[in-house]
């Protein structure tokens, strides 16, 4: 299988804290990958480095063979990588519809002057809101939504940009069990439609049930990887993370 997203020896320190300590990871195209590890093991920092939000001290990231290490976040997004944030980020004073429409790429200078609420785009945005089950909130400002609704809205926005690869930082954080199931099902569906996922998640039931491949981080670098069946019984993982 072809590598989709690949990092080589990523390092990042914040002052004295080493967040990434030589992370070399490969995520395969077309799979649902999970990235797990204890709190502070560098998972979010890894996402931030990959998406260009933070510049790594050293190391390289390639996406589908192209070096994206020093690219601006918007360029990486346009290359096909979408992401959500651990502390869910939406545009608080925009309606759900505008939140989703904000992900539309204008397409050149003239495209930028076209109406933001064109029929075609609005229909597409409503479709995503419907798919995520929040179409009844279309005209509600994001700041007036619940945490779970905001998480769904964030995901709708990311998907509107039509990313080939989606990085989710704790999609199940703080959501109720019913929603958890919905998110799991949705990820599998979207994966079947051809999207690659990398999911940081602490909820092991979700991780084990939806992923094809799991990478375990500890102290800023991978210590194990493999299919769920293997990770479940790996002793290093049990020691470092599952705390058994």
């Amino acid at each position: 299988m072809t590598a989709s997203l690949e990092t080589t020896d990523l390092r990042k320190a914040f002052g004295g804290v080493t967040a990434l300590d030589g992370a070399t990871v490969r995520f395969r195209h077309g799979q649902v990958n999970a990235l797990i590890g204890p709190n502070g093991s560098g998972k979010t920092t890894f996402f931030n480095c990959v998406t260009g939000m933070i510049r790594p001290d050293s190391g390289r990231t390639t996406y589908r063979g192209a070096d994206i290490t020093r690219k601006a976040p918007h360029a990486i997004a346009r290359a096909g990588i979408g992401r959500t944030f651990q502390l869910c980020r939406v545009f608080p004073r925009m309606t759900a519809l505008d939140n989703v429409l904000a992900a539309v790429r204008p397409g050149g200078v003239l495209g930028g002057l076209r109406g933001a609420r064109s029929r075609a785009q609005t229909d597409r945005a409503r479709e995503w809101l419907t798919r995520l089950g929040i179409e009844h909130l279309t005209d509600v400002e994001a700041r007036n939504m619940s945490w779970g609704q905001q998480k769904l809205l964030e995901l709708a926005g990311v998907l509107m940009a039509d990313p080939e690869t989606v990085l989710l930082d704790e999609p199940a954080g703080g959501v109720n069990p019913a929603l958890l199931d919905r998110i799991g099902t949705l990820v599998r569906e979207l994966n079947a439609e051809g999207r690659t996922f990398v999911i940081v998640e602490h909820n092991m039931d979700l991780v084990m049930s939806i992923s094809d491949h799991i990478v375990v981080f500890d102290r800023g670098r991978p210590i194990a990887e493999g299919p769920p069946s293997m990770i479940r019984t790996d002793e290093r993982v049990l020691g470092a993370y599952l705390g058994v």
């Binding site: 918007h74 360029a75 608080p92 790429r105 204008p106 930028g112 002057l113 109406g115 926005g157 019913a178």
Partner: protein, 368 residues
């Protein structure tokens, strides 16, 4: 993989029902249109009603403020970057126009347009430097711009006339004073209409939505694929161009430039105050703010002379606005009218959690 451009239509997408967002509540919309028409009529009729040239020139000053704060709002309103340095751009437009007339011998109109282009050009490196920093740092950089310009234009006296000032010949020397005022009044009104038109165009565009995303959460906008820096730079240049036009028109009208007034922190502060007062998210917010503050300022100056009193008054006003109407007068007014409007859909905050759950249950066939 399909691209995110609008050539892709979602297959089987249900036709969007014209939801409540399709228009503001009916009464609100009618009131808005009525208010705009009334305002436009009042602006156009003002020169005919003004009892003397002094009042007419006060009207020009207020319109100048309206254009300036609307121009400021291209940056402040869309991106949320609060610039206190826009006075420098107006000053550059004024001096640019004045110098092109006096030193290069250009006709007034050509000088005005060329000065606008030059300021737009200068705005590129300025924006490049200033827009890299956010929040308070941006405000400070923008203030520095004004101070630097003041120093340059004061000390470079051989060209700018320094503190002695620069006299700009009138574009229509044959016109009598009242006629001169009248012409400039309408020129300013036209410029205001143009600025409002362009703001409206951007407001409803994809570019505008991207800018508003920057205002809401810049990193998030960037992560979604918006080239935030380029967006900010473009809108800064547009803003600078309109600000320069307003400054240039002022030079041609007033005919006498002094660095102390042209490059004053006060000018930028007024723009901020007026825009905030009216409401930066509204097309007409800065205009309304300029009408209120500008008229008050002119009144104060007329009745009490040029005392620091009006500065105190503006300061107090700004404090009150920020505390009680953080979104400005227009949204506050709209909310007031909305209370009397029974056709209006219940406001989002009045939708209770229970109602939301019911809607949800209906929409998922009672499974959730």
């Amino acid at each position: 993989m399909p691209s995110a451009s609008d050539t892709v239509t979602a297959p089987g997408a249900a036709p969007a029902p014209p939801g409540p967002a399709a228009g503001r509540p009916r009464l609100g919309r009618v009131l808005t249109i009525a208010a705009v028409v009334a305002l436009a009529a009042a602006v156009l009729a003002f020169p005919g009603l003004a009892p003397n040239p002094y009042i007419l020139s006060a009207g020009i000053v207020v319109l100048n403020y309206a254009v300036l704060s609307t121009s400021w709002n291209f940056v402040g309103g869309f991106t949320g970057y609060i610039s206190l340095g826009h006075g420098a751009l107006a000053g550059l437009g004024g001096y640019g126009t004045g110098l092109l007339v006096t030193k290069a011998g250009l006709p007034s109109l050509a000088a005005l347009v060329l000065a606008m282009l030059l300021v737009a050009l200068i705005a590129v490196p300025i924006g490049f430097a200033a827009l890299r920093v956010r929040g308070a740092s941006f405000v400070i950089v923008s203030i520095a711009l004004v101070l630097i310009m003041l120093l340059v234009f004061q000390s470079w006296a051989s060209v700018t006339g320094g503190s002695r000032g620069l006299v700009v010949p009138r574009p229509f020397p044959d016109l009598l004073r009242p006629e001169h005022h009248r012409v400039f009044y309408y020129l300013y009104a036209g410029l205001l209409a143009l600025a409002l038109g362009v703001w409206w165009l951007i407001d409803r565009s994809r570019f505008g939505l991207g800018l508003k995303a920057i205002r809401e959460d810049e990193d998030k906008a960037e992560a979604l694929g918006t080239p935030t820096f380029a967006y900010k730079l473009v809108v800064f240049v547009v803003s600078a161009a309109f600000t320069a036009l307003s400054g240039g028109l002022y030079a041609l009208w007033f005919g006498d430039l002094d660095p102390v007034f042209q490059f004053s922190i006060l000018t930028g502060s007024y723009m901020v105050l007026m825009a905030l007062l009216g409401g930066v998210r509204n097309l007409f917010g800065p205009l309304v703010g300029a009408l209120v503050v500008g008229t008050a300022l002119e009144f104060f100056k007329g009745s009490f002379g040029n005392t620091p009193l009006h500065l105190v008054a503006t300061g107090v006003l700004l404090g009150l606005v920020v505390m009680f109407m953080p979104d400005g007068v227009l949204p506050a007014l709209r909310n007031l009218f909305a209370r009397f409007d029974r056709t209006r859909q219940s406001s989002i905050r009045e939708v209770s959690a229970a109602e939301l759950r019911d809607q949800r249950l209906q929409s998922t066939g009672g499974k959730a």
